[in-house]
């Protein structure tokens, strides 16, 4: 009997701390997890497409496939651009057991990846989080950082300031003790923040590498196509530690790193680590003044980790 789990039900029962734990658990037995290349079928103009990301976990004997629609015109009618569902199959007996809304889980796992990166890479006492972009992915990015660092101040920048203001209200409703400010001055945000978290679809850098202060950690999760370059790629050679979530994915999808690799500013070979290595080896930043960068594009096995985790928790 196929179980159906709505976005609201998953959101109520499966939290950021669960996602961080389950992704780090997956890192510890990646040899059992097999993912196939993503399939993309264009379905219209521009980025309009259907995406299919299958993955299996031979240890837990469960398989998942995330089915994602990209509908760029949707925001005009108040609907989300990206909508996902994840089907869970039991590999022991071949039964397809559940279909789970994947939209919240995608936002959550992406927030968890930034959280894991900040946990190993940012200063332990990081307390000021600067967020560039307050769109659909931003809230879970905020939660991921909040989970791992003693954040007490959040600075928000968004191209449309009004959206940053309502995002501020959303944060304050859940966390009234935080200090949250909206700024239209990115330079100020960059200079003051211990962690800068970028989540925009921008084709141009959203900050200037020269403004980055010693001791800053940067998470970039917005660019997922070669045309997108929210991170100023001049930061890569300047950084002490450059980590990515998935090396193969980044080479295909991270506009900043593709550009830096092309023009020789910073080649793919110069990327220091994949996130899993930090988690497996408990590898942390070595000095207070280091500049560190985490670039994230996503991969099917992160979806598997949270979908299986949520599925198991919902059936407990």
């Amino acid at each position: 009997m196929m179980q159906v789990f709505s976005e609201a039900l998953v959101e109520e029962n499966y939290k950021m701390s669960d996602a961080i734990r389950d992704i780090e658990k997956a890192f510890s037995h990646l040899e059992d997890i097999q993912q196939a290349p993503r399939t993309v079928i264009p379905t219209g103009e521009g980025a309009k497409a259907m995406l299919y990301m299958p993955c299996v976990d031979l240890k837990q004997q469960l398989g998942t496939v995330k089915i994602t629609s990209i509908t760029p015109d949707n925001p005009k009618s108040g609907k989300p651009t990206t909508q996902a569902q994840i089907v869970i199959s039991n590999l022991k007996n071949g039964e397809h057991e559940a279909i789970i809304d994947g939209s919240y889980l995608t936002r959550l796992r992406t927030g968890a990846l930034s959280g894991i990166a900040s946990k190993y890479m940012s200063k332990p006492d990081a307390r000021i989080l600067g967020m560039i972009g307050t769109g659909g992915m931003a809230y879970e990015q905020f939660l991921g950082n909040l989970e791992v660092r003693p954040i007490d101040k959040v600075i928000l920048y968004n191209r449309t300031t009004k959206k940053a203001e309502s995002f501020k209200q959303r944060i304050l409703k859940a966390y009234p003790n935080l200090e949250v400010t909206v700024t239209d001055d990115v330079v100020e945000l960059v200079k003051k923040s211990d962690i800068i978290n970028c989540q925009t679809p921008s084709n141009e850098p959203v900050f200037n590498a020269e403004d980055i202060q010693p001791g800053t950690h940067i998470n970039g999760i917005g660019s997922y196509q070669p045309s997108m370059k929210e991170i100023d790629y001049k930061i890569f050679p300047k950084a002490d530690w450059v980590v990515v979530d998935d090396l193969e994915g980044v080479k295909e999808e991270s506009g900043e790193l593709i550009k830096a690799n092309e023009n020789g500013t910073f080649t793919f070979e110069e990327i220091d680590d994949e996130l899993k290595t930090l988690s497996i080896n408990n590898q942390k930043r070595e000095n207070e003044d280091a500049i560190t960068v985490f670039k994230c594009v996503g991969a099917a096995y992160f979806d598997l980790a949270v979908a299986v985790g949520a599925y198991q928790k919902l059936n407990d």
Copy 2:
């Protein structure tokens, strides 16, 4: 809100005549249908695997992905080897609307393909159907032929005769006026039948090409891996008309045609038509004595045709 349709519900509401009509309708606008290559992830010994077959119909603005598990050990515990689910997505707004059991639909569309082949390729007055193999796919193969030809006699052969006997009872329960016999003599079956329908996973030919009589039409749907060769490949050069469901698929998956192509008995270039051409052009057998062969391996767009058809009928 995700709709869930069980196998029983689909089977009750969506029939062979529906499937034949909807697949022929799909043939008429194939330019709007895009399928991606199938993804296969092995999950254990032998054929154990997960398969993913995505497809979109830009005219109807619907997408499907069939998720299939192959669990070769399942029959030992009374479970089916193959289990499938199909997710339906609306391309207009990106919403994932339904998940439909795909096991019956897979059997049905395969039966419908044989039915369409028999409709155009077999003698119009074909009345004796010989079936080689009475396993999981057989009943809908029977139904497909029954739908398009005045079948009044069915001859059954199966390696395990007992299974053929219970298959006979299944047919007679639904169609008590048919004459149904079980034989252990394949040569007799082959010589008497107007249509021979093969549905076995055999690695060896299940009949001898020399025994095939003028005027016979053969449907072969069993072989879907290079190792499988239920059809005696010597029949291909002898046949007047060789048709396949999907040329690209056949080159990858039909053991008989791969073997015949390799040893030069009958090359892929000698295949006369794809099934769609017969349907689009209403192209029929030209003379009573022709020997005709249809080889079928399946493709995502057939699954799309029946899944969308069933979905629409269930929502009427």
